[in-house]
Structure formats: structure tokens, C-alpha cells
Amino acid sequence: MSTGARTYPPAHEPLISGDKTLKQITEDVCAPIERRPTWLWWVGFLASFCALVLGIAAVSYQVATGIGTWGLNRTVGWAFDITNFVFWIGIGHAGTLISAILFLFRQKWRTSINRSAEAMTIFAVMCAGVFPLIHMGRPWLAYWVLPYPNYRGPLWVNFRSPLLWDVFAISTYFTISAVFWFLGLVPDLATLRDRATTKIRKFLFGLFSLGWDGSNRTWMRYETVYLLLAGLATPLVLSVHTIVSFDFATSVIPGWHTTIFPPYFVAGAIFSGFGMVLTLMLVTRKVLRFEDYITIGHIEAMCKIIIATGSIVGLAYGTEFFMAWYSANEYERFVFFNRALGPFAWAYWTMVLCNVITPQLLWFKKIRTNPGIVFVLSLVVNVGMWFERFVIIVTSLHRDYLPSSWADYSPTLVEVSTLVGSFGLFFTCFFLFARFLPMIAMGEIKGVVGYTERTTNVHE
């Protein structure tokens, strides 16, 4: 490692630009935590917090009064609730992919973004986890989905129900992600502890850094655990959204009952997740002046993943359409006609425009390397992916087998406020994270920064 020779592999640009020394990295990353928050942070945080309060009010009203405060009816039993759930879970997948899969693939460029991405995953899963709770008619009995021993039989849960698989999948996902993220944070928290100037900071960072002493033995154990957790988290990227897609795929409703959902949903999840990562990172790098760490190269790499997964999603749309026609099943065929030409055609075409057409712009390097355009495209991707879940859920339900049950759906204020509130929760958590925790994994990024003579001196 410390040969002093330049060890850039050929054809690679430096992962971190600006010839940073290790000390500079520490300073850059810890700076936002150690200075007073800027007015930009306050604006963002307060806006998110207001949204969160609105959401809490809406949810409280809904839990106290009934699911009737939403726009659902006996034909459309799920709409915003499960759309939001799948949306948020999908977003989380990018973080895990960056943290775990890219780690196993030894993609060293992940180190600039993996901390934030993993934090995004945690917050997204938290937002997602709210919805299965509140979408229940009797959420105070939500614990009945847990298989706990009891004297009523014993009465177990229905292991054949996809909703139950969700319970296991989401809780596993949250647990693993949280543990992975936290353990990854420990060395950086130790750095902050060592640099702490106030008593509270010293205490808290000290507590959470678990007595990290930076010794060789500790680092070795850390790396081993990290590898193991990465290995555990990797299958989650594929399995969690597969399970979520089973919520629909195992039903009998045309438009839901299709085996393409697992790969389609996983691809879509990664697609939307990277969209959100880009949204967050493009703002972060500008505001916190992290351009040297989250370089255009990183942005380009993420755009390539977006276009790959976006193309898979587009292919899946085409496959669904083809199979509906090929099946000659009148109900299946009608679902797709109805999506494109029926009352929710506006949502369908928004989805196609945002998910299939606009990401094709990323084929062009000029666009891929322009942070402004990529930012707009990342927002478009997320809008499109929200609409994809909305279209899948609502258009399949609202006109299914018996025409007498065909009904319309429109959201109520409470539902929209709940969606806004979930964004509020997400961004509140993210702003707090940006304020108090290191957004870039210092420990990891120091391992991949360019190897020049200067960098061998750690204490500079």
C-alpha cells in the first residue's frame, strides 16, 4: 500500500479529484458537522419538518376516524397507501445495492456515496414501514401479524400470505440495513469523537463509537464483519422487492397476476433508488462543497445504472403488453387497453414518459455529465416510478372482472397530506443526518484516495 508509486489503474480517472490528503478528507467531511448549520439547512429542515407535522396530523386524524378518510372504496381497496409503501421500499434498494453489492464487486467509487445512500435506505424503509401500519383498518392490532406464541390455539399467522412475507422481508431489511449502516459509521464516529470540542458531542460520539480504538485488530474485525454484512445484505436487494412484488403477483386480478413482477419490480426499485440518490447527492455535493468527492464520474456511473435498469423496466412494460395480447385473455388484454386509454391514461402516459422516454437522454455523455440536467432527470424518474406503482395498483383494481364493480378513484386531502408527510419524514431525517453525521464514509474513502507520496503521511 505505501510503496509511494502511483498506482492508478490505467483508463481510470482518479476516484477522488483534487489530490486530497487524508487530513483534508477528514476536514472536508467533518466540516458541516462541526460548524453552525447554514440558513440553507434551516430552510430545508424546517420545510421538511412542517411537512412531517402535516403528515402526523393527517395520520392521526385517519387512525382516529377511519380508513374512510381516504378515497378508497370497495373496488379500489389500495391506492396511495400501498403505492407509497412500494415507492419508499423501492427507493431503499439503491442504498443497499451501493453498500453491499458494489462492495462485493469491488467498485471503489461507491465509497463517496455509500454512507448517504445507506442512510437514505434506512429513512426510506422507515417511511415505507409506516404505511403497512396505518393502512390497516385496526392498526392498534398490527402486532397480530407477528407469529408470537399465545394461548389461543396457539393461533399462528397465515404463512401463505404475501403480506406476511412482507413483514419478514421488511423487518429483515430494516434490521440488516440499520446494523450495516451503523457498524460502517463506527470508525467515523470515532474520528468525530476524537475531534469533539463540546462535552455532549464527546459523550454521544463516544457512546456510539463503541470504544473504537483504531487498532489493527479492531480494523481487521471490522472489515470481516463488514464483508459478512455486505454478503447478508446483497440478497436482500433482490429478495425484498421480490417479496413486495408478490403482494400483487400472487393475486388473481388481471394486471397483477403476472410472473414478470419480481425482476420488473427489482429493476424498478433500483431505478427509482438511484434516482433518489442522485437527487440527494447532486444537492449535497453543491451545498456542502463535496464536488471533489462526488465527482462527475460518480454521477456518470449512477446514470449508467439508471439507464440500464430503466431499460429493463421499459422492456418489462413491453413484455407485459405483449403477453397480454399473446394470452388472448380478454380480461388481461383489457387491463392494458384501459391503462393506455381509460380514465387513468394520464397517469399511464406520465409513467411511460418519465420512465422509458426521458431516461434515454442519458445515452448522451453530454447529458450524463451535466449535473443540472441529471438532477431534473432524477426527479422525473422518481415521479415516474411513483406513478408506475399507482398505475399498477389503481388501474388494475378499478376495472377488473365484473363491470358492475367498476369504480373511480380520487385521493382525499388526508391521503395527499400523508404522502407529503412521508416526504417530510424522509427529508427531516436526512437533514438531521446531514447535520450530525458524516455524509461520506471517511474511513472507506481514505482507502481509495489516490496513492501519492504525500498521502503516506497520515498525520499531516
Binding site: 373496488t75 390497516m136 401479524v145 397465515n158 386480478i253
Partner: protein
């Protein structure tokens, strides 16, 4: 310690307590009191014991709810068991026999009496909902005098005093009633009226059949309504008579009609009408004409038949036939080939038209077979001319006293305000209404009558068939029956039970010869619910076709307004019943409102869409109502339902759940719907329900109608039909010809025999199944209200229905099929939980709140449901109902109608049809108690029991002799969405219509 470098702080400082430690390593047992630990084991146990005792002492026992046991239990009453009493439904004058289900001393359900010769076990929507009317908290509980609550002695004194004055001045007294079929009551009224110098009973029906009676007076010399025997008619031609829905006695007629629809000998039914009625939607052939042309077609028919019979009529020339001549020829041919077995009826309230009907029936030889005037019906006795003569008398101040029973003329007459003004000129106005309605509120005294479930009475709806009405509960308020009131004012107050017994002993018992003892006869009648007695044939003279006038020719008009009655509200008498208000109208599926129906062609022409508020005006009368596009309606007709805009219906403003974006059921300051009665007319002889030459204008406003079904075709929308040209095979139809050639005609695809599911659930005991004959189902909706009554289904209010959240467990889907020329085919399909063998709902519930029983039922466990709604999403039939809110159950009196055998569901819980599992369990327990096996017909779910057409069959599919199994073997049997392999337990028999292909 030596040899150990590490010292604790205490050791370093020489803390005495610490230094003592090593010597006291094993403290002796018991621990010293208040020692180092400060709290010994013994102290702990003492404290715990005292604490527990103290806690228990402080606990109060569970609060004792007032439970007063019978000191001497009633002999035949076992709490928790239902007791059944035979009686008669009083919700309309048709007089269907019922059985009242009594629990703990109060009626909770009405069912048709299967032994009753008229209704034969069926009961219509109005009858099923009548039990709720008993528990109406707005019913008057005491007599009202001058707007203030009074007492019976005070009111009686006032009335008697007034009557004395009237007798002294020999003033006119009138008793204005609706049709009263009770011979005892009629006798009492007539003797009461006879005690005055000029006293008379005037009868009028809001839904008038006065013209039929007048026509028979002219043609047969007796002013009677014939008894129509549809079960003897192989060919029925109806000129705007909604005999399956709202005309005279729909349950009786449906039962008869269905009896003749048994394949392969299907009767033929032609309907000529201007708007789509329930009867028209079931007809084999439906001819759509303008309202004034109905009579014209009838006139042409009569003229042709008369010519044919050799005694042509003396009409002036008739206007040309407004329909295809071929259609008329076909009709004539069919009628002639069914002489004596045909029936021509008309709902037109026009004496000339009805005389033509009589002529046609006479020529066809139907009198004596399908029509009986010798043993007539008494179900309509109104005389519109007498009513208007009374109105004239009242206006000229000649009437000194008037009694109003069972009528609401201020509301349902076209000149209701005229009647209200005339009432002021009458010295004594006494009403008997159960609430201070439009008319009764203007009376001097209201003497509220018992509800029919609280009173003793009798009825002779049809000559020779007598029924006794017996009470199933003591009167809830301080009401008094009509007969008791009259007897009080006649000076000889008697209980209605005694009056009835006396009357029966003298007048009814003598008409029969089967029973020797009067008491035995009485007991048998009360037990059975009916008695067949002799009836003196009505004296008629041979048919006289003297001076028959032609019907008035068509009056060309851009718009003609037609007024009609809805099956739930009829003339508005049940507007205070929330079950009936929330019942989706069988044709339009709209709830809680009336509206203006316009045909699709007219709507397209004028750019009217559903919900556009239109203003209908004729002279000084105008009303603004939302439009509804009604397929099958004549293009020049706008139709509005009667029975709405009743006073006091603003009570339903907040009948649904109250929340942020919820809208009230009744608009601000308004009522449920608008009263269309001012548009009715009187042509000098009878009340007319249609008005030509109205103006229809758009107001530009919009009003959301609450409809339970918003898509009405089995075919997908036009522009999406590319890959789906065929209608969905949900309701399968075939013509009679095709059926006779191939009994499985109309089948779209066979059931898939192969299944991946292993046969690991064998139903060794019973397997409950249902088979619904779609040819028999008329779409009346009786099953819907019966289910609501039996299973405590909540009322949700208009806004919730508009949001498609109505709670009915069974619904009747109605689909239109365009036939060109504005003609439309209609099919009905009752849909409830199909209790699938491979239920898609069962696999997806995370908490196992829906499971399968060993008898094939899909069980919904209310207590376990957390409300994720995946089961409802996964149900392909969309039969599951979710409790979106806590629906109000604040009205304690109304809660008395709840069935104690069925749980009330709270918010957040899914519910659905259970095949009336409480009835299944009850029947099984009863069979076990009697030591026998369950037989077919022991278990009758509420829907099946109530159907007047016996369309629903329920039973054990494992029993090859059960009706269900027999229907399963019928080639017409099919299941909806069977190809999904959900194995539904409900099957349907295809609709067979007696019409040509196409």
C-alpha cells in the same frame, strides 16, 4: 489485600463498611432486619400480601347491568329463541301474509308466509323494510291537538263534543281513507259514517287504479278491481303496467308470473311502455312508445280484435298506428292462439283505455280464467272522482268534519295546496297518521295509529282469502288503533281485539264450513295466518261495450313528463325508512334521490349528462332535479319518480359518518329529493301521471347522484373494444328457440376440468351451495333488504354510496345490452359472496381472519380482522365490504331491530355474506335436538326466503336430491368466472327469453 496492586477507592480510603465486607461474606439467614439490603424477604412477602389484599379490596366488582329476571317466566318463551307469529304486512294494501320473527318480545324480521295463497312466501322490499318503520323514533307517541301533545281522554272529549255539534247541525262528515282491505275496519267506518246525517267514506289511492274500477263498472256493472291470475296466463301483454314492481300487488303477481316461466313451456310477455320499468326490463318483447301512444296502440289492438270477433267498434278513425304493424300482428296472433290463457293489463289511469282493456280481455275469453271479477281483488278501491267531489265540497265549506286515514293528499295530490286551503274550511279535521306529515300537521287532532306490527286487525285483500294481523309487540308509544278510536267516538269504547273477535264471529265465521267451533276457527286462522272462506260472487252483468270512446290521440309535444313510483318508496309512504332510501333503485341503481330520466339519444342531442341539473316546468309548477341518462326510455319523455321531497326527511342529513370531507345526505335546508306530485293532473275522471308539453331547460348547475353502479354494460367501452369485441360471459343469455334446440345454448365455454389443486379437502358432511335462476329473478331487490335486516348491515348515507362504499352484502347487478333503435335488453344478476372452494381471499389474509369451514363456507372472523383489505382486492366478484368508519348506532330505539344472532362490526373490519351462517347453525342445532338429519329447505338464508320469484335456491350440494343439486344438473347451469378455478359455490341458471334471435 497483599499481593494485589489494584485497590478500589474505598480500600484506599479505608472505608469501614468496605473493610467489614470480607468478614461478612456469607451473611446468616435470615437477613437482619433493615440490613444492608434494607428489605428482607419476609418483609417483602408481608408487603406483597398486604398490597394484594389492599388492591383487591379496592377493586369494585364489575358494574351490574340492570338484568331483571322473570319472576315467573312466561311459559312458552325461552330467551334466545325466536318465536314466529303469522300476520299480514301492512306496508301497502296488497296484503301479503307474513311471519314475524320475534326475539325477546320484539319483532326483528318479517318473512313471507309460505302457506299464504297470495304471496306464497315472498315479501317485497317494502315489506322487508317495514320492520324498521316500527322502531322509528319520530313516530308520534301520543295524540296531538292543535300542534301540541295531548292525551286520549282530552282528544276524545274534544272530538266527541265537536261531533255532537255536527250531528245537531246535520253537517257533512267524510272519512277519507286509502284502500282499507280490513272488512272489520270498513264496517266500523261505515257504521260510524251512518251515524251522521250525511256521512260517507271516500277512498283514494295515491297510486290510483280508479280507472280500472270505473271501467269495470261500465263494462260489468260492478265497480271492482279484478283479481289478476298471472299463473294462468301463457301470454301477457302489459300496457304500462309495472306488475312485477309497483302495480297493485307485485309479490302476488311475481309469484304467478314466475310459475309460468318454468321451462320448456315459457310464457310470453310483451310490454308496451314509454320508460324502462322493472316489468319492462323482464319482458320478452318490449315496445317503446310515447306515453300518449300507449293508449293508441291499445285502441288499435282492440279495434282489430273487435273486427276479428265480428263486432267492430264504433270509433271515429283512429290516428295511425305508432308502432310497426308487424309487431301488432304478432301480438294479435299470439293473443288469439292463447284464448282464455292470456292476460292484457294496463297501468294507464284512463277510463277509456281501461274499457278497451276489458273489451280485449273479454274477446279473448280471459274473464273467468286469468281475470276474476266475481271474486275480485280489494287491493285498490280508490275513486278519484269521489275525491275531487270531496275537494269541491270542502272548498265550498259544506264539509263539517273530515277524518283522514292512510292518506297524505296535501303531499301526493297535484293540487295539494288546494287541499290544504280547503282543510281550513272544515270544522273538524282528524288525522290518524303516525307522524305529523304534510296533511296531518294541518289537522286539528292527530290520533296516531298503531304500526301494523303492534295492532290487531284483519284483511281481505282478495275475495275469499282472509288474513288476521296480530301484534308482535306491545305498542311502543301511546298510540291507538283506528277501530278503537272510532268505537270511542261512537260512545262504546272497546279494545280492537274484542271488536275483531266480535266481527269475525258474526261475519267471517259464518262464511266457512270447515270448522265447527269459532274458537278453533279463530285459533287456526291466527296460527296459519290466513283463512279461505266463501265469497259471494259479485253480481255482474254480461259484458257491455256500450259507447266506447277512443282514447285521445297523441298530443305532439317536445317533452312529455311521466311520473312513476319507485319500488322502494311507492307513493312516498316509506320515505322515512333509511333502508328503502339507500336501496339502489333496481333500474337506475341510484340511492337517496330522485332525478329526471332522459333517453341517451335525447341526452346526446341536448348535451345533457348525468348530474346536470335540469329545470322542468309546466305552467306555474317547476322543479329542478339532476338528470340521469336512462337507456330504454322514449326520446320525448322525461320521467321523475314520485315519493320524494317528503316533509321530515331532512332528518337524514347526518345519517352517514361525519368526517372532514364528508357531505351530508340531504342538501342544506333541503329534503331527500323533490316532490313531483304537483305535476300530476286530474282529467275529470281520474288522476293522471303524465303531462305533455313541459319545458326542460338546463340550469348549468351540477349535482352528484349517488349510484351503486356506474358502468352498465357487459361490453368494455367502445374505443377499447379492439381486442374484446364480445360481451363478458358474466350473465349468459339464450333465446327460447335456441334453448329448445340445445339446452346448453348460450354457454360460452365449458368449465375447465383440469386443476392443479389437489383434492385434499373432501366435504364429508354438508356442502352448502346456491343456485340462482336468472330467468326467474326480476331484479326487485327484496333479497337486498332482507339481507340488510337479517345481518345488521349498516346504512351509510348518500356520500358514502357516492364514493362506492355501500354496505349491502348482496347486490343486484343490472346490465344493459343495446339492441338498436334505442331498444335495450336488460339482465339482472344477484351477486353475493360465492364462498369459493379455492378462495383467493383466504390465501392472502395475513392474520387468518378468513378461513374455510368444513361445510364449504368461507368464514370471515370479525374479531381477528386487522383490515388490510387484501382479501377485498383479491376477490374477483368484489363482494367484500369494509367498515370504513364506525357507522352511527346512536338511535337506541332503532337498535331494537338488530338481529342478536349477528355481531355488529366495528370500524376497520371486513364483512361479507355468510350464507346466513347463523341460520345454518340454528337449523343444525334444531335438527340435532329433534334427532333427525337436516333436510332440504330447513336452512333458508334471508335472501332466498324473501324472493317472491323463488329465484334463489340454497341447500346441500352433497345431497343429490336437494334443489341446489337438481339445478346444478340443469344444462342452463353455469358459474361466473369459473375459469379462474376459484370453485365458487354459487351457480346461475342462464336467462332464457322468449324472443327471436338477435
Amino acid at each position: 489485600m497483599p499481593g494485589n496492586d489494584r485497590k478500589s477507592l474505598e480500600e484506599r480510603d479505608g472505608d469501614p463498611d468496605f473493610l467489614r465486607g470480607p468478614e461478612d461474606e456469607f451473611p446468616e439467614v435470615p437477613a437482619t432486619e433493615g440490613g444492608r439490603t434494607g428489605f428482607s424477604r419476609r418483609s417483602f412477602l408481608k408487603a406483597a400480601g398486604f398490597a394484594t389484599a389492599g388492591a383487591l379490596m379496592g377493586c369494585k366488582p364489575a358494574p351490574l347491568k340492570k338484568a331483571i329476571p322473570y319472576l315467573i317466566p312466561a311459559e312458552e318463551i325461552t330467551p334466545g329463541r325466536a318465536y314466529w307469529y303469522a300476520s299480514m304486512c301492512g306496508a301497502c294494501p296488497a296484503g301479503c301474509g307474513i311471519l314475524i320473527k320475534n326475539r325477546d318480545g320484539r319483532p326483528i324480521k318479517l318473512e313471507g308466509n309460505p302457506a299464504h295463497p297470495l304471496a306464497r312466501g315472498g315479501l317485497c322490499v317494502v315489506g322487508q323494510a317495514a320492520v324498521l318503520g316500527l322502531y322509528d323514533s319520530q313516530r308520534l307517541k301520543a295524540p296531538v291537538s292543535g300542534g301540541k301533545e295531548s292525551s286520549w281522554p282530552a282528544v276524545d272529549e274534544a272530538i266527541r263534543g265537536r261531533l255532537k255539534k255536527i250531528r245537531a247541525s246535520r253537517g257533512k262528515v267524510r272519512f277519507l281513507t286509502g284502500t282499507i282491505t280490513s272488512p272489520t275496519a270498513r264496517r266500523m267506518i261505515s257504521s260510524f259514517m251512518a251515524s251522521f246525517a250525511d256521512g260517507k267514506q271516500v277512498v283514494y289511492d295515491a297510486l290510483s287504479a280508479s280507472a280500472i274500477l270505473d271501467a269495470h263498472e261500465a263494462s260489468h256493472g260492478a265497480r271492482v278491481l279484478p283479481r289478476y291470475l298471472f299463473d294462468r296466463a301463457d301470454c301477457i301483454v302489459s300496457f304500462d303496467a309495472d306488475f312485477l314492481g309497483t302495480w297493485i300487488s307485485p309479490v302476488e303477481y311475481t309469484a304467478g308470473y314466475t310459475a309460468k316461466r318454468a321451462l320448456p313451456a315459457l310464457s310470453h310477455h310483451t310490454q308496451i311502455e314509454s320508460r324502462l320499468s322493472l316489468t319492462g326490463s323482464n319482458a320478452d318483447k318490449r315496445i317503446r312508445v310515447g306515453p300518449s301512444d300507449i293508449g293508441l296502440v291499445l285502441a288499435h289492438l282492440a279495434r282489430r280484435l273487435a273486427e276479428d270477433a265480428g263486432s267492430p267498434l264504433s270509433f271515429r278513425t283512429l290516428p295511425p298506428l305508432p308502432i310497426d304493424t308487424g309487431a301488432l300482428n304478432e301480438m294479435i296472433e299470439r293473443l288469439l292462439s292463447n284464448r282464455g290463457k292470456s292476460l292484457v293489463v294496463s297501468g294507464l289511469n284512463d277510463v277509456d283505455a281501461q274499457r278497451l282493456v276489458n273489451l280485449v280481455n273479454h274477446i279473448l275469453g280471459n274473464y273467468g280464467t286469468t281475470l276474476d271479477v266475481k271474486r275480485p281483488s280489494y287491493q285498490k278501491q280508490g275513486n278519484d272522482r269521489d275525491l275531487y267531489a270531496l275537494l269541491d265540497d270542502m272548498e265550498s265549506g259544506e264539509v263539517a268534519g273530515i277524518f283522514l286515514h292512510g292518506v297524505n293528499p296535501v303531499y301526493d295530490l297535484p293540487d295539494g295546496t288546494r287541499f290544504a286551503a280547503a282543510m281550513k274550511k272544515v270544522g273538524l279535521v282528524v288525522g290518524f297518521a303516525e307522524r305529523s306529515d304534510e296533511t296531518a300537521s294541518l289537522a286539528h287532532h292527530i290520533c296516531p295509529e298503531h304500526h301494523f306490527l303492534e295492532s290487531w286487525s284483519d284483511a281481505e285483500p282478495v275475495a275469499g282469502i282472509l288474513t288476521i294481523t296480530q301484534p308482535a309487540i306491545r305498542p311502543l308509544g301511546g298510540t291507538r288503533s283506528l277501530m278503537e278510536s272510532i268505537s270511542a267516538w261512537m260512545g262504546t269504547p272497546k279494545a280492537d281485539y274484542d271488536l275483531l273477535r266480535e266481527a269475525w264471529r258474526s261475519s267471517v265465521f259464518t262464511r266457512q264450513t270447515l270448522e265447527r267451533s269459532y274458537q278453533a276457527f279463530w285459533d287456526k286462522t291466527v296460527h296459519d295466518g290466513y283463512a279461505m272462506v266463501g265469497a259471494t260472487p259479485v253480481g255482474t252483468h254480461p259484458f257491455s261495450s256500450s259507447v266506447m270512446k277512443g282514447v285521445p290521440g297523441p298530443r305532439p309535444a317536445e317533452w312529455t313528463l311521466v311520473l312513476y313510483a319507485k319500488i322502494g318508496l311507492l307513493d312516498g309512504r316509506h320515505a322515512h325508512n333509511p333502508w328503502l332510501q339507500e336501496l339502489p333503485d333496481p333500474i337506475s341503481k341510484i340511492t337517496w334521490d330522485n332525478y329526471v330520466n332522459v333517453s341517451p339519444a335525447t341526452a346526446a342531442r341536448f348535451g345533457i349528462s348525468d348530474g346536470d341539473v335540469l329545470r322542468i316546468a309546466a305552467g306555474s309548477v317547476a322543479v329542478e332535479l339532476p338528470a340521469h341518462v336512462q337507456p330504454g326510455q322514449h326520446d320525448a319523455v322525461a320521467s321523475i319518480a314520485l315519493g320524494y321531497g317528503r316533509k321530515g326527511t331532512d332528518r337524514f342529513a347526518n345519517v352517514g359518518p361525519q368526517w372532514l370531507e364528508g357531505r351530508p345526505t340531504v342538501p342544506e335546508g333541503g329534503l331527500v329529493g323533490k316532490n313531483a306530485a304537483p305535476f300530476r293532473g286530474f282529467d275529470g275522471r281520474s288522476i293522471q301521471d303524465w303531462k305533455p308539453g313541459v319545458t326542460v331547460t338546463r340550469t348549468g348547475r351540477r349535482y352528484d347522484l349517488a349510484s351503486a353502479q356506474t358502468y352498465h354494460s357487459l361490453s368494455v367501452p367502445e374505443r377499447m373494444r379492439g381486442a374484446n369485441p364480445e360481451p363478458r360471459p358474466i350473465v349468459q343469455e339464450a333465446t327460447l328457440d335456441a334453448f329448445l334446440k340445445n339446452p346448453a345454448a348460450g354457454a360460452t365455454r365449458g368449465e375447465d376440468p383440469a386443476s392443479l389443486w389437489p383434492e385434499d379437502h373432501k366435504y364429508t358432511g354438508a356442502r352448502w351451495g346456491m343456485a340462482i335462476d336468472l330467468s326467474a329473478c326480476t331484479g326487485c331487490g327484496a333479497c337486498v333488504v332482507a339481507c340488510q335486516a337479517e345481518n345488521n348491515v349498516p346504512v351509510v348515507g348518500k356520500d358514502e354510496v357516492r364514493r362506492r362504499r355501500e354496505m349491502h352484502w348482496i347486490r343486484i347487478d343490472r346490465y344493459y345490452a343495446e339492441r338498436g333503435n334505442g331498444d335495450v335488453g336488460v339482465v339482472f344478476q344477484p351477486v353475493m359472496c360465492h364462498q369459493c372452494g379455492n378462495a383467493p381471499c383466504e390465501t392472502v389474509c395475513p392474520v387468518l381472519a378468513t378461513v374455510h369451514s368444513s361445510e364449504g363456507l368461507n368464514q370471515q372472523v370479525y374479531n381477528r380482522c386487522v383490515g388490510t383489505r387484501y382479501c377485498a382486492n383479491n376477490c374477483p366478484y368484489k363482494v367484500r365490504r369494509f367498515n370504513w368508519f364506525d357507522y352511527p348506532h346512536e338511535d337506541k330505539l332503532q337498535n331494537m331491530v338488530l338481529n342478536p344472532d349477528v355481531t355488529i362490526r366495528s370500524r376497520g373490519i371486513m364483512e361479507k355474506c355468510t350464507f346466513c351462517v347463523q341460520r345454518i347453525q340454528e337449523a343444525k342445532a334444531e335438527a340435532r335436538r329433534q334427532g333427525r338429519t337436516l333436510m332440504d329447505g330447513d336452512v333458508q338464508p334471508a335472501c332466498m326466503q324473501s324472493c317472491p320469484a323463488k329465484a334463489i335456491a340454497f341447500g346441500n350440494a352433497n345431497d343429490p336430491e336437494s334443489t341446489v343439486s337438481k339445478r346444478k344438473r340443469d344444462p342452463r347451469w353455469y358459474r361466473v368466472l369459473a375459469e379462474l378455478n376459484v370453485d365458487p359455490s354459487v351457480g346461475y341458471l342462464r336467462v332464457i327469453r322468449n324472443r327471436e334471435e338477435g
